[in-house]
């Protein structure tokens, strides 16, 4: 039996912009066991609900993660709105959907770039990020912020998108989709990409389900869960079908995200077509008293905000379960059997967002 050695991976590592530490137990070049340790960017955001008023905490929630920032704010706001029985105007719901899908587009393009970089496909990395800049331009035009938007609030949204801008966005979607399809074509059909990814670190449907995988990681193994199906914000009106693959390997996880980009473009197009006129927000009166599990589908999977109010302007408790935390047990299951050189690609395939995980 070959001698076992332990190789530390992280916290500062070239392929990951964020710190996570894995102890990889190797036999020769093959990974046999993985021990993850987290906590390098734990801040303690949950306790901050006791120091910030419930309407102000939206900005803190937004900064749980700089990539899915809008969706954290949305999840928190929806939770408070449910506790307080606030009915958000329809236009605000559509605007929330449009910004959510823009966030998903920029997150998936960002991930595709990082993933290509992890494979050593530098050209594809640059191309994905070049495309992503046009999404960020739209976000900046409509909200004022590139990565932190600050437009979602309890009771609605802070800004409107004028009809002129909506038309412009609609016109820009067709050429954007064409470019995305060109890019996706490389990820899905290029022989080098397929050779690198197909059959790598397979996780079965049963394992993915049993270990609580969420988001594209679960959907790539054939578990058809997508929280957008429950119809929060305007998803109920727009109609939505999750993208599901069955292979469960790194290629399938990549394919789910590529196809979700097309789905997001389609959702934005239909949301712009159907957006109703009306108010942007309702006045928030009183304080939250009660508890609620608020759930939203982020680019990485389902995020859960548990919120409990006690009738004061500060919440008593917030608990945030983020998708990457749920995807770490599946990752630990996936890695054994992989070659050391493939570890960065496999780790990236769950789209780890460490600042979410550690809050």
């Amino acid at each position: 039996m070959p001698e076992r050695i332990v190789v530390p991976f992280g916290p500062q590592h070239p392929v990951l912009p964020e710190p996570i530490h894995l102890d990889l137990v190797l036999e020769d070049e093959t990974v046999v066991d993985v021990v993850p340790s987290i906590g390098y960017i734990h801040r303690g955001l949950e306790q901050l609900v006791q120091k910030r008023e419930f309407t102000e905490y939206v900005y803190v929630a937004e900064r749980i993660c700089g990539i899915c920032s809008f969706m954290h704010a949305l999840c928190y706001s929806q939770g408070i709105e449910h506790i307080m029985g606030i009915e958000v105007p329809d236009r605000a719901k559509y605007l929330r959907t449009i910004w959510s899908e823009c966030s998903r587009l920029h997150s998936h393009l960002l991930w595709l770039g990082l993933f290509a970089d992890g494979m050593g496909f530098e050209n594809l990395f640059m191309r994905s990020w070049q495309l992503r800049e046009s999404v960020l331009d739209t976000l900046e035009d409509t909200t004022g912020g590139r990565v932190i938007q600050g437009t979602c609030k309890v009771g609605g949204v802070r800004r409107d998108i004028g009809q002129e801008k909506l038309d412009e966005m609609h016109r820009a979607l067709d050429p954007f989709e064409e470019e995305c399809r060109d890019l996706g074509d490389i990820f899905l059909n290029d022989d080098t990409v397929k050779y690198r990814l197909q059959g790598l670190s397979v996780i079965s449907k049963d394992d993915a389900y049993a270990l609580g995988a969420v988001g594209p990681t679960a959907r790539a193994s054939g578990v058809p869960v997508d929280h957008r199906e429950t119809g929060y914000a305007a998803y109920g009106d727009l109609g939505f079908k999750p993208v599901v693959e069955t292979a469960g390997d790194c290629y399938a996880r990549c394919a789910v995200r590529v196809k979700e980009i097309y789905a997001s473009i389609d959702l934005i197009r239909r949301a712009i077509d159907q957006i109703p006129e009306g108010a942007l927000d309702v006045k928030v009166k009183g304080t939250p008293d009660g508890e609620y599990f608020s759930r939203v589908e982020q680019p990485r999977g389902e995020v859960v905000h548990y919120l409990r109010g006690n009738g004061t302007k500060h919440l008593a408790r917030a608990r945030i379960r983020t998708p990457t935390l749920a995807n770490i047990p599946p990752l630990v299951k996936m890695l054994p059997g992989a070659q050391l050189a493939d570890v960065p690609v496999v780790v990236l395939s769950i789209d780890p967002c460490i600042s979410c995980t550690e809050r």
């Binding site: 500062q12 900064r63 070049q130």
Partner: protein, 161 residues
Amino acid sequence: MSTMAFLKRSPWILHYDASSCNGCDIEVLACLTPLYDVERFGIINTGNPKHADILMITGGINEQNREVVRNIYEQMPEPKVVVAIGVCAASGGIFRECYNIVGGVDKVIPVDVYVPGCAARPEMIIDGVVKALAILEERREKMTGAAQTKESARQAAGEST
């Protein structure tokens, strides 16, 4: 590019996420990609502290990463410059009241340039790096100057004996 005229060589950057929300990190990466493309100035993001000239840190310091940040800084060869990206790296920012946040990066290592913003924009990050380059150049000259003085003193001592 008159502001970059003093650039005599290509500085390599090391990026570490202390306890940032990711917002500044993806903006640091955005600087390297086609729209901003700092690689045209020879600036490369390296993963190896021993290759790096400029350390870019995002996010505040917490109890667990304190040693990691110090370790990375100490592994970098002189001359080196530290750039704190974003308001969290400067003071802890929106997270400064969190129980696990000690404060800005300057609680652990000396910081030369502070880039404000939440999240810091790529233009500002590039501006911060340009400022860091001037400091790096100054330090390099001081070091080579010191080395030359040492060398000439040694030669003078050699001649006298």
